[in-house]
Assembly symmetry: C2
Homo-oligomer: 396 residues x 2
């Protein structure tokens, strides 16, 4: 705010605020929008009319309120007609979705990813998914953009994928390669880390809605975190923040794929869990679930494995609680499954490690949106520009 | 920005921006303000006139530029006539200062603090310092407020001091007690953690100026951090973030005063350094300096102690680098002295622990403002309201 913003700038800002509200909260009555956004009825009416004119929302139906008075129209995001493509490169699978405004998954595809597959080799099957899904896009639908979430380190400045477990260094512009392979006018591809985008979605509409200080832990072979502090994502200088799996917590412990020793993920990742359970010949989400289920059935080795991992999860989470004093820690990926069966160990060790003041308002949670958070989050990367300025490039 | 801000709101915002600029950067020419703030010459002139009228800046003198053209007047903060009181409760000393706008220390007092002294017993001597310094305040000087920085955990909502090393739980409203003891119209006292306020000062005008992602480590008996991510301070939900000294990094290690075991400060705090150097009968900054100097002179036990502590500092900093991907780590308090003699160990261990992408742009630094950062930072707590709205309560 250097010069006074014009009426037009204020209007565009308010349009973005309204659109973002219904994007996150779904169908909302004008009355609720008036209250939540702190704008008067006629302004809400004018903004809604503007967004309707460019095809971003519709206004119809009415919610049953049971209260007397004039029924309020519901403002709904045009989920079926405004969409983005979302792509995920995970350790064990490739996923793609067409996601409508409002975070609605309209169509989806999935394929297993062999662990030896190079990240760039994911480009062709992912592009294939897009080509398939394109066929079912209704006439007149508006394409907003595409987002890619990778289980790896992503440079914020240009979306370069630096490092991806378990295959090591990549240093390839995977987003650009995807754009080229997809062809047509798919436009720029915004790239992010999978824990980061899932954290944002759980923060906006999931298990941490309304909380300003949140740690979303995501586990597979490795462990990383999407961290929200004071309502904003911690990215770090280059975009590599949140590599909590490489916090050394056991200096005399096992060697880590990163070259160091005793990293958190050498105690709580997929490999130590399976090894301790006597199942080192297996891998992936199904194998982790197998251990968790065996532990629940009373299998001794599985129980010992879960207890060991639970202790170390609690210790590392305690460290993060001392550093961030968060309101919520969410366990995602395979850590969700482990958390469900090791919650007691985790909480107990956390209470030993975290200072009382730092942990006094903490809630431990599983994701509300499950694995979809990473897909919806990848779409959010693409929706962001539209939400900032809904009239940008509007043709209506 | 819901309704369009009025011209008056824009003016007040710009007044705050200009005042904050000269508060942080000192005397600045109108030409430089025009460039740095992105406002035209006549606007800068009008804003400067407004701030001059209420006694917050003066305009005179001229900087030697060696360039041709009309000399530019310098806008200076009225450091001698606009002031705050700053108070510090540190582990081994109590300090107070009168700090002028611009962060200039105009007067100061200091007394040792016996380690058995309760935090509330610091109230009387600190109030005494204020009474003494009051006598020399020039006629007509404008008092802005008072800030207190404590080497302990401070609740953000109300400034309640929760925990302070080495005396344990406090849970006392030290700021309110100080206001009562000082008497008169000293007004509300803003309370903060000493590492947090020092971090803000090193970030705005010290070793981390211009950097958005900074970790300021502060060591004495314990270790805590003021952390700045994306240009903003990490406070956590209750204000207790940054308790990095209680990050467990050696689970089989020594018991910590917090009740846990293997916390970072059990390896890098004052006690382990002195114990390893065979000097457990001593304590405090002087004793730490004694070990550092002995190590430089070739004392074997002191060298071993410094090497041990350096290794563990490097490991813990590596962890924080993986979590925050910062541009700068600043070593404050007694860690400054240890860093100067153990930089090689610290850097080497850090390089082993931190992922290359996370550490690729990191700088390790000592504070530029030294111990004064905590005093200037305490004053910043009091100046903040004035900088947000320079006309608030103006009588000029």
């Amino acid at each position: 705010m250097k010069a006074a913003p014009s009426q037009e700038e204020v209007r565009r800002h308010n349009l973005g605020t309204l659109l973002r509200y219904v994007h996150i909260h779904g169908a909302t009555s004008r009355a609720e929008l008036t209250t939540k956004l702190g704008l008067n009825r006629s302004t809400i009416g004018a903004l809604t009319a503007d967004l309707t004119a460019v095809g971003l929302v519709t206004e119809k139906g009415q919610r049953e309120t049971g209260r007397a008075g004039r029924p309020s129209l519901l403002v709904r995001p045009e989920s079926a007609m405004v969409y983005a493509y979302a792509l995920n490169i995970e350790v064990d699978r490739l996923r793609a979705a067409r996601v409508g405004l409002g975070g609605v998954i309209l169509d989806r595809r999935e394929a297993p990813r062999p662990r030896e597959m190079q990240v760039v080799d994911a480009v062709r099957p992912l592009a294939g998914f897009i080509h398939e899904m394109r066929k079912d896009v209704p006439d007149g639908a508006r394409y907003v953009g595409a987002g890619l979430a990778v289980a790896g380190m992503v440079r914020r400045a240009d979306g370069m994928v630096r490092l991806a477990p378990p295959i090591g260094w990549v240093d390839q512009p995977v987003g650009d390669a995807l754009v080229e392979e997809i062809g047509g006018d798919v436009g720029p591809m915004v790239v992010g880390n999978i824990a980061d985008v899932a954290a944002l979605v759980e923060h906006s509409r999931g298990a941490a809605a309304g909380r300003e200080n949140v740690i979303y832990l995501y586990g597979d072979v490795g462990v990383c975190a999407g961290i929200i502090a004071g309502g904003r994502r911690i990215t770090g200088h280059g975009g590599y923040g949140g590599e909590v799996g490489h916090m050394v917590i056991n200096p005399g412990g096992n060697p880590c794929s990163c070259g160091s020793r005793g990293c958190w993920e050498t105690e709580i990742g997929e490999y130590p869990l399976l090894r301790l359970a006597g199942r080192e010949d297996r891998s992936g989400r199904e194998a982790v679930l197998g251990v968790v289920e065996a532990a629940m059935r009373g299998d001794w080795a599985a129980q010992q494995a879960v207890r060991h991992v639970g202790e170390w999860i609690g210790l590392g989470v305690g460290n993060l609680v001392n550093i961030f004093n968060p309101e919520a820690v969410i366990f995602g990926g395979t850590l969700r499954d482990v958390y469900l069966v090791a919650a007691a160990q985790i909480r107990s060790r956390l209470n030993e490690v975290a200072l009382p003041a730092c942990r006094e308002h903490i809630r431990l949670r599983t994701p509300e949106l499950g694995a979809d958070a990473a897909l919806i989050g990848a779409a959010e990367l693409a929706f962001e520009k539209l939400l900032e300025d809904p009239l940008l490039g509007a043709t209506g």
